[in-house]
């Protein structure tokens, strides 16, 4: 073992290290952000008449209970369609299961991931091994 290090040297190493690492990566942030902004502008120039954003879809969660009463918790037209689709899916399920299911309530899940419930179910399945 060699001589012990002086405390001032140790702290010099630590501070220099942290400063240089942060400095290097902040430089990269600036650089990458600049490039990103440049490409964003380029793509906007190329597509001046971009389509208006599609209306955001709300993902729906379904609560199913065997032989329960229907209590729709939503009323807008869009949601009526969603409920109809969900009810149809549930009806199919009850036909194949041989059990009686009823849609008890349908409510939008706040903070749901982008995409529909099936897509997120698939995504959950895909990342489960991790």
């Amino acid at each position: 073992m060699e001589m012990q290090m002086e405390l001032s040297y140790v702290f010099a190493v630590v501070i220099t290290g942290l400063v240089v690492v942060f400095l290097g990566l902040i430089l990269l942030i600036a650089f990458i952000s600049l490039i990103g902004m440049f490409f964003k502008k380029m793509s906007q120039k190329n597509k001046p008449a971009a389509k208006p954003a599609a209306p955001a879809k709300t993902a729906a969660a379904v609560k199913i209970q065997p032989a329960a009463t229907v209590q729709p918790a939503v009323s807008s037209e869009d949601d009526d369609e969603i409920i109809a689709v969900i009810s149809a899916a549930v009806a199919m399920m009850s036909a194949s299961d041989g059990k009686n299911y009823r849609v008890k309530s349908v409510r939008a899940v706040s903070g749901a991931p982008v995409g529909n419930a099936w897509a997120s179910a698939a995504r959950i399945e895909a990342v489960r091994p991790f």
């Binding site: 073992m1 040297y9 190493v13 942290l18 990566l25 990458i32 990342v127």
Partner: protein, 396 residues
Amino acid sequence: MFDVFKEAITELATTSGFAAIGWKEIVMILISFVFMYLAIAKNFEPLLLLPISFGMLLTNLPLSGLYNPDLFIINEEGHIDVLNVLTNGGLLDLLYLGVKLQLYPPLIFLGIGTMTDFSPLIANPKSFLLGAAAQAGIFITFIGAALLGMSPTEAGSIAIIGGADGPTAIYVSSKLLKPTDTIDTGTIALAAYTYMALVPIIQPPIMRLLTTKKERSVVMEQLRTVSRTEKIIFPIAVTIVISLLVPSAAPLVGMLMLGNLLKESGVCQRLVDTAQNALMNIVTIFLGVSVGATTQADKILNLSFAKVIILGVIAFSIGTAAGVLFGKLMYVATKGKVNPLIGSAGVSAVPMAARVSQKVGASENPTNFLLMHAMGPNVAGVIGSAVAAGVLLSII
């Protein structure tokens, strides 16, 4: 005739390994069995731990002459006598030249580059900050090692374990450590790879301890798509910026980015295939077995090894904590748009650390997908630890 036979047998017995083996070698061989068990039965980084542990076995079999540390003593001119190693070295001495001359880690980085997708980082460059914050583990451990009375070269080699990056740890320790030091590259590599395998056990308690349920449940905005041109510019830009800032990080960062450029260019498929399969596998075997060979009994069975083990886990934990705490800072700064859990992925350990962020996040909200968000700090951590390595090499 009987006398000749007796003499021959006695001669054989006295020159055999059985006569020369001591308790230290036996202990080391048993330790190599433990690591083999961890690699085979527990799947602890098997691709590296298995060759390392077998190298450990080989080097502790007496009289085999596979590895001779005396050959690697630095001469008056300040470097090792390569010709002497080539003429008098055993098999593992020859392979170890690749470690001692810092050849293998950059080649491994080339392979890693061909397998890394930097787009989460390009889409969210702020992730670089988390990759930088997690390097605090390296430097704070340096203080700890200094307080325990270690030499600067030893302290630097131990601290780099906190970077959670095997090739970087080997690169730094093989360059820093001197023959007079009580630890060796093999010790550092063993600790680094063992802890990397233990990332899913070490990190989650720290992550939960430092975050609130609300913070862990943050769902982050989807990342934007990154254009091909951006992906091609990225490796070139990083190489230039980092190599100019910290020239001693150039071999690692340069090779990492070359690999990535080969991949993203889309025109070098054959080279990508070789770099990420054949070349990487060959180098991994050479690296593993020769690094394992440096773990001779007197280098392991001493107090310094215990210090490496303890400081190694501290380095890892501090790195994780610093990443998460910086994540919390970003959570506050962005008014709750950043999930602090992705900060822990800032220690490299790709992709294990990002998986841990995903897993801990999903345990709060199963529909929360942090994986891609965590990959940003994760790959930034690789660059960050290479920069930290460069800093350590140039200061110490």
